[in-house]
């Protein structure tokens, strides 16, 4: 495209710019390292003067996520961002959002835990993002960008999926992608939706009751267990539908591979370098990169069991996604894990060593 503007910016900044450009109506957040640039960039850009987007620094992550609940419940396209300890605080709200089936975007630029942990990058929030985190049987749509470009692109995609399924979506990034500067082509400007468009797209939204309809009520409460079970069954059907339709992944040099690395986000970048090194030594290895962590690319990972001799799950954590890989291949081939903890990023040669150890 001739008019494509290529910019150099941080992943966090890309999130902010993409939000303004994709017609986001509101951002509610609280500062925490390493994601504060999202709110800072928005404050600097003043979108309330241009697109009319609301930007508000809340008193806590608990409050931000409930502002997101409020905004999503009245039909608006709203988001928040935080990092691991802040996202932990949001888990109550995440569960309510999932229960009330509200579309929204939560960005986690994750860091090492547990507890206050470290401000250095980590992928240790995989379980929290993909296996619940909050209470109850629910799922988030979880996208894992591995470049600044994907940080920008996944904002709109997240909203699209969130509204399509009336479900909260999450971008699970980490301090590497959030802080790293890379070239990025920002998405084109899309106007915010009008009141009519919102009413059409979200007829369930609580934004004032039109004369000809019953009140719209946003809630996750139902005291009758038989009705509550029906609601849960409906939710599970929706999740099954998402699992069926929305799996996204990238394959890299898998065609002739004897071994596969499965890695997401920043770890996938390290994996690509490790693959280059390994292939230099004659080891045929490729990469399967889940882009959607939930829905997890179960079929694609399962297919690896007939193709490769072993899988290395490269994660910047103590081994979380590896459980899903083992389930997918039904333990029919060896699945090893390699990762570093506490904010240490594994180096490509360490990954090659781990690969050799598995072989």
């Amino acid at each position: 495209m001739a008019d494509q503007e290529i910019t150099l910016m941080k992943g966090n900044e890309a999130i902010a710019h993409a939000a303004i450009r994709c017609g986001c109506d509101g951002y509610f957040g609280y500062p925490i390292t390493p994601q504060s640039e999202v709110l800072e960039t928005l404050a600097e850009q003043k979108p309330w003067e241009t697109t009319g987007m609301v930007v508000l620094q809340a008193e806590s992550e608990v409050s931000s996520i409930n502002m997101v609940y409020g905004g999503a419940g009245c039909g608006k396209k709203v988001m928040t961002s935080s990092s691991s300890p802040g996202v932990s605080l949001m888990q109550e709200g995440m569960s309510y959002l999932a229960g009330a089936e509200l579309p929204c975007l939560v960005v986690n630029v994750s860091r090492g835990g547990p507890g206050l942990g470290t401000i250095q990058p980590s992928q240790a929030d995989y379980f929290q993002s993909c296996k619940g985190g909050g209470h109850g049987d629910y799922r988030l749509i979880v996208l894992a960008p591995s470049s600044v470009q994907e940080m920008a692109d996944f904002v709109d995609l997240s909203f699209e999926l969130a509204f399509k399924y009336r479900n909260p979506a999450m971008i699970l990034s980490d301090g590497v992608i959030g802080q790293m500067m890379e070239k990025v082509v920002l998405p084109p400007f899309k106007p915010r939706r009008t009141e009519e468009q919102i009413k059409k797209e979200a007829p369930w939204a609580a934004l004032g009751r039109d004369k000809n309809r019953k009140p719209n009520i946003i809630t996750s409460l139902e005291l009758d267990p038989s009705v509550m079970e029906d609601i849960n069954i409906r939710l599970q059907k929706k999740y099954a539908q998402i699992q069926e339709n929305e799996v996204r992944y990238e394959e890299y040099m898998l065609e002739d591979a004897d071994y596969a690395i499965v890695a997401f986000g920043s770890a996938a970048r390290i994996a690509k370098k490790a693959i280059e090194l390994a292939r230099g030594e004659g080891i045929k290895v490729g990469l399967l990169r889940p882009i959607t962590l939930w829905p997890f690319p179960i079929k694609q990972v399962a297919a690896l069991k007939d193709k490769v001799k072993g899988i290395l799950s490269l994660e910047i954590n103590a081994g979380q996604m590896v459980e899903d890989i083992r389930l997918a291949v039904e333990c029919k081939i060896p699945v090893a894990h390699y990762g570093r903890l506490g904010g240490i990023i594994p180096a490509p040669d360490e990954v090659v060593d781990a690969l050799k150890k598995m072989m």
């Binding site: 809340a58 008193e59 806590s60 409930n66 709200g93 609580a206 934004l207 009520i217």
Partner: protein, 256 residues
Amino acid sequence: MDIKEIIQPENMVYHKPDLLNDVPMHYCPGCSHGVVHKLVSEIVAEMGMNEKTVGVSPVGCAVFAYKYIDIDWEEAAHGRAPAVATAIKRLWPDRLVFTYQGDGDLACIGTAESIHALNRGENITIIFINNAIYGMTGGQMAPTTLMGMKTATCPYGRDAKLHGYPLKITELAANLEGTCYVTRQSVHTVGAINKTKKALRKAFENSMQGKGSSLVEIVSTCNSGWKMSPEKANKWMEENMFPYYQLGDLKDTTNQ
């Protein structure tokens, strides 16, 4: 005059507000919530805002407020109603947005959300039902439980050494720059109900005129929790609650 002559549509001087639907309210007999629900229903209609109002219901006895008043509602997590309302009002500035919260919701678990929404001067109304007890969960101690008052979790009476002091959050709110109108009312008599209606109307109008946050506390009874008849509970409230939670306007900057 025959009674049939009087009972004619043209002679009707009071009826259940139209916005209050026919679903039987789950509240205990004599509960103050019902009276406040009626007032909210009346005022929204009188302001012509039926189609432009979003209420935020809490966790507590009023959790099902959305079942009874036929406007759009969002049901918030415990204590988070002011955060939910903040977003709705900022995203739809021409809507009438209010929260309806009890003492536990507003003055305990949601203290941060309440104080900060009020301090930001969000153009919302917070309706605060203070009955000094947790009704929904079966009568436990609230942040506003009076000294010496017995509840399920302070069965020997509230003791400052054990439980701290009853929180006058409305006084706190009056000291915040963001609030324009802070008042404490009650609904135990016809006169009190009329005053509360005026206060709520004023608060709602403030929010539509962009004057800032309004907090309307309504000192209420919980006759079940207090283990009294509704009539006796009203009397007990007058004798024990009012001296500590004094009625009247605590702040009004709307005429300045």
